[in-house]
């Protein structure tokens, strides 16, 4: 479904992604993890068409974002790390605006919005101004925005960061449900929580894929320790640089 083939990206002379290659099948939840500065956000930004790679190709169901950007972007839902939203709008207004902007026909807009509000547990706060939402609800609204058009691929940058345990569980429930009809690629550091619902882990270190783990092939506790060790060694490397 999603093929990432030898992606390389640099900020000036600094190589941030170096020959990144892996693929994602429908229904998979792939966690991209690594130390800070490993290139997780940059990889997601390349996949979301926010950055153009220096070399390599990305294909979503054979659609190349460089050749057919609108068609590719129609197939993705993206949640940014800082979860930006229009604060003066209400939850429902914001979601309606986003659905319309993504090209949904007028007759279907209301249904899409109400479905997604319910799916993300936002139906009770649909008239709340975005600026009054807590971080957890803001993330849920961002996730609702990413999910609302039923994309084939969900790209989520640090969806669990800054959330308390109940909010994390809620996000995990929504993602597990969403993975029934979409592939999910997410970046994050919350290894033990992600192990509960992710199917694969991709470890990045200084822009390179250093390990790929299929969760079912390992004992979860062992895999958690292994991943944490790898991230810690990456962090040591970062500090040592």
């Amino acid at each position: 479904m999603l093929e990432i083939d030898h992606i390389t990206f640099s900020y000036g002379n600094r190589k941030v992604l170096d020959d990144v290659t892996f693929d994602v099948a429908p229904g998979e939840i792939v966690a991209v993890t690594g130390a800070n500065g490993a290139g997780k956000t940059t990889l997601l930004r390349v996949l979301a068409c926010l950055l153009m790679q220096d070399s390599g190709t990305v294909r979503l169901d054979s659609v190349d974002p460089l050749a057919r950007p609108i068609k590719y972007r129609r197939g993705i839902g993206y949640l940014s790390e800082h979860c930006p939203l229009y604060s003066e709008m209400t939850v429902e207004e914001y979601l309606t605006y986003r659905v319309r902007l993504k090209g949904e026909r007028n007759v279907r807009v209301r249904r899409r919005v109400s479905e997604t509000l319910e799916q993300c547990g936002l139906e009770d706060s649909h008239r709340t101004r975005v600026r009054l939402l807590s971080l957890g609800y803001r993330k849920r609204l961002g996730l609702a925005d990413a999910l609302v058009m039923h994309p084939k691929l969900l790209l989520l940058d640090d969806p669990l960061a800054g959330l308390d345990v109940p909010q994390r569980k809620k996000i995990a429930c929504v993602l597990t449900a969403a993975s029934a009809r979409a592939a999910v690629v997410l970046a994050g550091h919350e290894i033990r929580e992600m192990l509960e619902w992710c199917t694969r882990f991709v470890v990045l270190h200084r822009g390179r894929v250093t390990a790929l783990y299929r969760v079912n092939d390992y004992n979860r506790a062992d895999l958690a320790r292994l991943l944490e060790l790898q991230i810690a060694s990456g962090n040591d490397g970062e500090e040592g640089r």
């Binding site: 979301a48 068409c49 153009m52 609108i70 940014s80 902007l101 090209g103």
Partner: protein, 247 residues
């Protein structure tokens, strides 16, 4: 609804009730009204017609209003990070740019139309021959040239806004581009070739307004402002597209 319409609607709603919109529009109305009254007094008994005085009193303030209204269009999106969500959406950059530009033009159109209130209030106080010479169509044509000028300033402001994350920096740069640069070029021409002063007693931008208000219609002038508008909007969509390259 198309992406242009959706963007236009969202931006118009954001303008509505925003301090960054109401205060500049109120200031524009106050200052253009004051200029109109001053010019009317100064040109009492001259051949200058009411619609020309109105046009000339509004035109110099349009670049400032445009710069202040357009400063947030892209700079705000970039500073909040909303630009990422917009660019990850299945819409073309030019739709985004046109939608935002049209929203600023809507506000400016309303502001220019509201500035007509001052001439309408003053008109009954003028002498009968002056009142009799006033034609609605002359005001409509003056409105057209003001709108055309505003569209060029607005397009320039929209483009400049895409370069910055800071709104104030965007506004100052727009002002330099739309107001400072033409005035500087005019001053340089007059300083360099003093003989031109006879033909260019007024800045060409004001001459265009005066000509249109007196019925001297020029397709070249219309083409000039339309070209400037298209050029800046095209530039803006390219600047937005280039954000993908820079990261």
């Amino acid at each position: 609804m198309t992406a242009v319409q959706v963007t236009w609607l969202r931006e118009v709603r954001a303008f509505r009730g925003a301090v960054s919109c109401c205060v500049p529009v109120a200031a524009f109305l106050a200052v253009s009204g004051w200029t109109f009254v001053m010019l009317l007094r100064h040109h009492e008994g001259s051949v200058l017609q009411v619609q020309s005085i109105w046009g000339i009193s509004v035109a110099p303030w349009l670049p400032i209003l445009s710069a202040v209204l357009t400063m947030r269009l892209f700079a705000e999106e970039r500073s909040t990070g909303m630009i990422d969500l917009l660019m990850a959406s299945p819409i073309r950059e030019r739709d985004l740019v046109v939608g935002k530009f049209l929203s600023a033009m809507t506000v400016i159109g309303i502001a220019v139309a509201l500035s007509l209130l001052v001439p309408m209030v003053v008109l009954p106080a003028l002498s009968a021959p002056v009142r009799g010479s006033v034609r609605a169509v002359a005001f409509a044509v003056t409105f057209l040239i003001l709108f055309l000028q505003a569209s060029a300033w607005c397009a320039a402001g929209t483009m400049v806004s895409a370069f910055f994350r800071n709104q104030a920096a965007a506004a100052v740069s727009s002002l330099v581009l739309c107001s400072g640069l033409p005035v500087a070029v005019y001053a340089v021409i007059l300083a360099w070739v003093p003989s031109v002063r006879m033909e260019m007693a007024w800045m060409p931008l004001l001459v265009h307004v005066y000509d249109f208000s007196t019925g001297l219609f020029s397709t070249a002038v219309i083409a000039l402002y339309a070209t400037l508008t298209v050029f800046f909007l095209f530039g803006c969509s390219k600047v937005v597209a280039c954000l993908r390259l820079r990261g």
